[in-house]
Subunit: 68 residues, 6 copies
């Protein structure tokens, strides 16, 4: 406890996941006061053709990036 | 916002996901009044041998289809 | 199977959930070919002060609605 | 209904998933009184390099096994 | 690790949750070989009027119990 | 996109959620390069009597805090 799940797009490498896990664990322990070892982070890489925004698959989207 | 997650079986292609995302976004905006661009849909293809129903893996199930 | 989870904001009433469930089930059965009775929809009302976008809680956000 | 999701590490084979689904369904029906056929179990194999504990990716962790 | 999430209907009391957690932990450790202390179970009570099956809210459903 | 879900225990107030959302958004944008406005964080407060660890409900647990 706590358990954090991150859904983001495919393409982030091991170094990115390493920074993500370290950074999120840092924030959560600072805010909640729990020890590092109690924090679980699960990272899910989602294919852009399995992600919809604005009614369209993201890899076919015409939305500006901040809206996806 | 809103965020919709769909867990269904593997085997649906891009065209199916395209229709799924368009259709769900349509329903959600109509019911909630939020704009299209605010709707996120995440699609997860699940392998039938990672899906259990009635105590058995679905690809070994003897249940009729509506019960799976 | 399939299982759909909807996270949206608090404030939608029973009639809204009824339309949501009917509409999503309709889309999913049409696209996937599975029977109505096989579709599960779980609706989660999220308090805007438990929802973050753009780095802020949504009820303190200055973002336009389509960006939340 | 009910819907149970299991996130565990990659490497468990079909026989393990078969036992997992049978065992969990058994527990849930015994406790809740619902029939077997109403229980859905979704199994997600997570790569250890997509799983963080104690601020590090699990396959780089120095934590004892019970803490991961 | 592992993390198990159970979505079931409201109305199960503390004793039911206690048995559920003990039983699921037992199954998961037996199948995966991990120690008890590594198993997390999150229980979510869902209101039947936030749960859809067969296109209808479950508390308005005419489906037999095994189909809900 | 991305969508982050945090499951933690009840008892964190608005200020804690505000810091959590700001901190996680900061980490995710730094690591993934996406803009702030694209990051969604959903916070779920879980009652300790709905959270199991080591086969027991957490509010009855005898585990040291880092193991819960």
């Amino acid at each position: 406890m706590p358990v954090i799940t991150v859904n983001w797009w495919q393409g982030n490498d091991r170094e990115a996941r390493r920074e993500l896990v370290a950074g999120i664990t840092d924030v959560v322990t600072r805010v909640s006061g729990c020890p590092d070892d109690a924090v679980t982070v699960i990272v899910r890489d989602v294919d852009p053709d399995h992600w919809g925004k604005g009614g369209r698959l993201v890899d076919e989207s015409t939305l500006p990036r901040s809206l996806r």
